[in-house]
Amino acid sequence: MPKKPRTSLSVLAVMAGLGLALPAQAQGVITWGKPAEITGFDVHVAGTVASWEMYQMVYETLLITDDELSLQAGLAESWEEESPTRFIFTLREGAAFSNGRAVDAQDVIGSIERIQNPEIASYWAHQLGEIVSMEALDDRRIVIELARPHATFLPALAHITAAIIPVQEYRDGSFDPAREMLGSGPFMVEQHNQDESWTLTRNPHYGRDGYPRADRMEVAIIPDESARIAALRDGRIDFTTFENPDAPQMLGTAGNIANHPIQTTNYYRFDVNALSEDSAFHDRRVRQAMNLALDRDAINMLVFNGTSAVDYPVPAAFGTDACHDLDTYALPRDERLERARALLEEAGQPSPQVELMASSANQVLGRIAQVAQQSLAEAGFQVTIASVPTAEYLQRVFTDGDFDFSASWLAGYTDPSMVIQWWNPNFAVWNLAFQEEIPELSDALADVRSTPASPERDQALRDICAMIDEGANLLALVSKVDYVAYRSDQIEVRLADRTGSANTWQHIAEFAPAD
């Protein structure tokens, strides 16, 4: 009996030697530590960042955005705006799906038709606007005609949800987008073990010569932040992202780990229920009081250690100054609290009891909720926090409208006129459960959608922002920063300093193992 442990220990020691001797990295392979598994395979349907990020490895869109968030050629090498309602796209020469077939005009038309098909349940149809006709001029040129000018049409085509799928294979049944992925992007899926790992290999027919630089990409699904930190440290993964602002600090000062915070157009937000009679927030004054009493600076300092910034309905990342001079943002906090108390008094609810809901999947939201709870108490609010599973949060907010207010974050996409459509419940139909319609606001939003970027549009955005603030129905809190970390000794990366929604890995084709 006493001898056994000793033998097993020596075996362990031998195995340790073997393990350490194994090469850490094979050639041409990069490894991504992905925080969450996809929620479905269908690129036209899934509405979650975890899915979008994976789709970007496999699919391409007609247009893409650059670091300045302006539109660039993607699968379409050029596009022409013949009139505000008529666009001609020319596909890139040599673009091909990973099965070798060239991407043609019919793929574009079929993909957009599929997005617009109500049976598919794609939410993206709203963003594209009303398309009256699509026509192939030849194999590589498509004309798309809109019923009326729609400013988000082009930016919407740059979002991964508008990916171009191989329509011919889809129609003949050899490709089922609901259960597999086949695109013209840099990589193709070789193997997938759900919740565990993916193996992607280079798409041999990818349109850009010499890309992707990596031959293979291993993807490890690691939801736990500490486990991701450990994996990055021991070199098992090359790059990953964190939501926790303290992650860079937790990674330590090791010289081989580089941190790269990416500013996004996304921000953390509160959805406030203006419609439910059961909620104190049914009274607009109570909502306004809450908006005024919130201490956004405290959220930035306490939850994000000062690495984020106060944000506005029109995201600061777009560089407009809309909303900056409103009382909510410009007044000192003492005066805001006074105003808030006065509003509550006026509404006859000096200390309203409200429940703040947050998905338990994201601990950052819980922290925001707790800071908000304390700052709102100063104005008289009695806030309780409910941290619930994601599915429940989504159903109660977006379907049942059974909540007071909830914390989440908003994808800012790539154009300010896109994101503020969230304040128009006729457009953002998923908000119907809790959003009050303000006709002037809806009209102004419809106008701005067809206004190209210009000083006039900036003024319109300012007016809109004031109306949004007045309604206090959806509140912007602070910007969402993606904290990217990578092993500088193992991988060469290219990262933007600023991205639209879920575009963190837009330059993935340029990632390569370090020599």
Partner: protein
């Protein structure tokens, strides 16, 4: 009752380990019960100190990621974890004893139904059941209590049933039946005192299981809601910051383990006192 006083006597002649458990348990219970009135600081005051500050004279257990003093949070955690488990286990003991006695005494259909019910609860993976209940009822104290009850109910039913089976045929029970006592009266007056010992033993065992379940649920974010703390939710909070603020996990983990251990040790002593095992030397 003389059995109980004898047992109490044996309990008092406890050894060092039991004494350690007893003192720990009493201390933790004191902190848990009187914590809110002790001058320890406000467990939910944000920015009371620096973010993620290391333990110091001012903040004995350091501060958390929102600059809250962690020590009063741990004390609050003891309170939630103990209180919720104790409530749940007490309720379960009552229900479980009644069901167990009914199964053992009534036999036949009642026995089958209750035994199968207990089997079903037992065969259901405990944590999955917990997650389901917590999700259906909504996270919070109510669902924590329900989950603990569901997980510990079979323990009481099984033990009480087997004890009841052993005494149901005995003379004093038959005598009461002949005298025309009602079923309920027989159960409460004649059977209950005889199963009490077994229930007491199970109670401490269930209490430690209850504390593990409560903290596991809170660890997964489905128990006590913020800013209130339970030992499990503190562990969850701390596990995000293990590498730079290990004091959160270490302090709440140590207190949780100590709490469970003290309950186990006192439970062992109670068991030994009620049903002593007399070993004898081999030589």
């Amino acid at each position: 009752m003389s059995g109980f006083s004898k047992a109490a006597g044996r309990l008092l002649r406890a050894d060092a380990l039991t004494l350690f458990g007893l003192i720990t348990l009493v201390t933790l219970l004191f902190l848990g019960i009187f914590g809110p009135w002790l001058p320890l600081g406000d467990p939910s005051r944000i920015a009371a100190g620096p973010r993620l500050g290391a333990p110091s004279a001012q903040f004995l257990f350091g501060t958390d990621e929102l600059g809250r003093d962690f020590m009063p949070r741990v004390v609050q955690g003891i309170r939630s974890t103990f209180l919720l488990s104790a409530i749940a286990v007490t309720i379960t003991a009552v229900i479980g004893s009644l069901l167990g006695m009914a199964a053992g005494y009534l036999g036949r259909f009642a026995d089958q139904a209750i035994a199968r019910g207990a089997d079903i609860l037992f065969a259901f993976p405990a944590l999955v059941a917990g997650l389901l209940v917590a999700a259906v009822m909504g996270p919070g104290q109510g669902s924590a209590i329900t989950v603990i009850s569901i997980a510990t109910l079979p323990l009481f039913i099984r033990v009480v049933r087997s004890v009841t089976l052993g005494i149901a045929g005995r003379g004093f029970v038959t005598a009461a039946e002949v005298a025309g006592a009602s079923t309920l009266r027989i159960m409460l007056v004649h059977l209950l005192p005889n199963v009490m010992g077994a229930v007491m033993v199970q109670l401490t065992y269930a209490l430690s299981i209850g504390m593990i379940i409560e903290s596991a649920l809170s660890f997964l974010g489905l128990g006590v809601q913020p800013p209130d703390a339970s030992l499990g939710s503190l562990l969850r909070q701390g596990s995000s910051y293990l590498t730079i603020a290990p004091w959160m996990v270490l302090s709440s983990g140590a207190v949780l383990s100590l709490a469970i251990m003290s309950v186990n040790l006192v439970g062992d002593a109670v068991r030994d006192a009620l049903e002593p095992l007399k070993g004898r030397p081999l030589t």
